[in-house]
Symmetry: C2
Subunit: 182 residues, 2 copies
Amino acid sequence: MPEAVILRWGHRSRDERLTTHVALTARALGASGIILTDVRDEKIKKTIDGVVTDWGGPFFFRMGTPWKMVLKKWRAKGDMVVHLTAYGENIQTSDVIQRIKTTEKDVLVIVGSRKVPSEFFSSEISDFNVAVGNQPHSECSSLAVFLDKFFEGNELERRFKKARLQIVPQKHGKKVVSKSKV
Amino acid sequence: MPEAVILRWGHRSRDERLTTHVALTARALGASGIILTDVRDEKIKKTIDGVVTDWGGPFFFRMGTPWKMVLKKWRAKGDMVVHLTAYGENIQTSDVIQRIKTTEKDVLVIVGSRKVPSEFFSSEISDFNVAVGNQPHSECSSLAVFLDKFFEGNELERRFKKARLQIVPQKHGKKVVSKSKV
């Protein structure tokens, strides 16, 4: 099963909550981890690491590496790069998701936050530019729908390891069980 | 085709960007509109109305009505209420989405932001409690995946009306055309 790793580009301190949501989305929708490039944000790292401690993993949060270096290392492995953008190929009306999956390679998913450099759209950077609908959008939502289609929904039944807490789904009400670490 | 309307509960001024993302998600993923209950936020309304002016609609943004009144009016129509929560029935492992769709009714989708009142989970408020995975999550992402499954992906090829701007999907690069209003 190919893996997905998220590259979060363009984070500024005012984006703290949004980037936290992008990271929670990445984890909940089956990505292996997220790399906050170019900058560091200890508060988000603490939040996400805390979620992994309580709710399980594996899921990594890394930060500070320049995006070009992350790309270079990824390229050296021969894996794919997907750039999520409203300007790209429509995930519903094109065959882009099939073409990505056919490669059977791991994907690095670039998620911008503010205006991204135009080189992100070029074939030197991104093998695929994918649009979750060609409309103004939220990067959290685009990432969620992309991962859900990439993993074909199976990510939503993933069992996280070493979880302290686990939800028992209910039609009405809330149920959470605490578990000893396994 | 049943419609979806979003009820955003618990918005505070610090949530401005997140609620904007929830509203953008609602529009991009096929909802008819969003109601920000209990409070008003003129800045978000201006942003979303601007998106509709540029990129088309129909899509409404309403605000300020108490949530109980929104619910009461919705119930009076006999339509369904879906509460998105990590504690609910798993959208992937249960048949909840089929049960919702079988009703063939419009859905009001409750999206919380902070800790929601426990009554939201009760059958008096929500016909269905739906979890997009039973993990800590982003409300933007949960909404996106829920709407994508509710509309079966068709929402991503929707043509918006009276759009001034339209993206022409590209494998690489960006292309936007300006149109006169139709």
